[in-house]
């Protein structure tokens, strides 16, 4: 049987997943999402209060 050295099969997707920028992007998107959700909820509150006053 011929000798077959170990070859690490690394796809571009795996490289991206290991990169710190993947984590950073996930992080900043999550933070932006949280801010957006709170902003929308606050916007609805502002709208209701404005209708009352």
């Amino acid at each position: 049987m011929p000798h077959r050295p170990y070859v690490r099969m690394e796809t571009l997707q795996q490289r991206w997943q290991d990169s710190p920028f993947n984590g950073a992007l996930l992080g900043i998107l999550s933070v932006a999402l949280a801010t957006g959700v709170i902003a929308i909820a606050c916007g609805l509150i502002a709208l209701v209060v404005t209708l009352i006053y």
Partner: protein, 501 residues
Amino acid sequence: MLFRPDRRDFSLIGFYTGKVIFGIGVAMCVPAVMALVLGEYNDLTSFLLGASLAILVGRAAELFLSTKEPLSTSHGLATVALSWTVAPLFAGLPLRLSGHYASYLDAYFESMSGFATIGLTLANDLDHMSRSVNLWRHLMQFIGGQGIIVVVLTIFASAGGRIGYLYTGEGREEKILPNVIRTARFIWRVALIYAVIGTSALWLSLMHAGLDPAGALYHGANLFMAAFDTGGFAPQSSSVAFYRSTLVEIVLLPIMTAGGFSFALHYQLWIGRRDELVRNIETRTIAASMLVMFAIMVVGLGRTGTFTDVGVMMRHSFFQLVSAHTTTGLSTVPGRMYVTDWGVLAPAVLVTAMALGGMAGSTAGGIKAMRVGLILKGLIRDVRKVLLPEDAIVVETFHSSTRRLLTDTQVRAAATVLLLWLVLYFGGGLIGLFYGYELQLALFESTAAASSAGLSVGLVRPDLEWPLKVVYVAQMMIGRLEFIAVFALLGYILAIVRGRV
């Protein structure tokens, strides 16, 4: 019984404080390079003088106080407090020499406000300040926000686990990764990668607002440091209002929110655990308090009729609330308006938001959402105990990275620190009253200084009485270090005077 510290104790504290001073000297080289590039030669001389002095003192401390003794908890805490006391002395030198500060106390105040990420300023004619000096103000926030000690931990990593106590003393209890050095490096990695993303977004939005590319980059970098490190300094005296851009304000909102998030939560989000946003006790507490406080705020603004347009009200009130709750201090309206045009409820909400602050282990100040959440959970548990049959076992849990059991010790510790915070806020407010200022102004400014929020109603200005400046400086430091390190330093001073040999 207190024992008088000996030469060994002084050597240890002095040795590590020297490292911090050395680090400040190295950091001063950044604005010095900028001054050289922009031809601001007077400021270049000031920065070189300040950097040389700090590096000289830092190296001298290392040479003469070199010790192989291990660092204990009390040494670590006292070192942190001493470092935070002396660092602004050196950092304030180029500020004083710039001519924008009336006295060395004002320059020291500004440096402490920078390092502790407060945002209150005593600068005269800020709008005509040189770019290198203005950059130094913002850079201090970046260094102080990550923690001066974190800077040292990252640079002098060879000191290893022995300097873990320094990290703890700076108001950071949770180690995100098993090793303190790796935790410090993770904090830097988060800050630097977010700096690239945040500054780029601000650069584009500022160009959209009408700034030239170079100016937009300069303002963007400074605004990023002010927002992410929940600092609140701004390149212009009118803060974010200067840009008159809704887009800039929208970009700043998630950056301020990211600053208010703990680095432990950032770590969870970085490894893809987005459910932590919904389950974490701190995000839940902050989200709930934001919604409740925003509702009260808009009711107050609605009653006083401050804004006629709902969009304008939403824009200003939401920005101000996020800025106050994350203890950033950037503003889109002149500070004086909070008390002249915003009625009573809205400024009261801002004071409460500043007092509560962001998450534990973030760059934000204030009581912290973790403590508020634990106390509320403890309250719910006690109410359930009263309502359920006597032999029922009531167990309360909370989620922070993992599900944890709520203990009496945790609730008691949170309540004790909450009490200390209230004493700090009201103590400063009382001293403001003593100097003849109205309750609303005195309490607003005292809370802004202690919580590291830095929103101002105009009481902090160059001609403020000097004892009040000293009180605010003390509040800034005590608030940033969260009491214990300052108590340790005071304990050492007491031991020098009254301790037994």
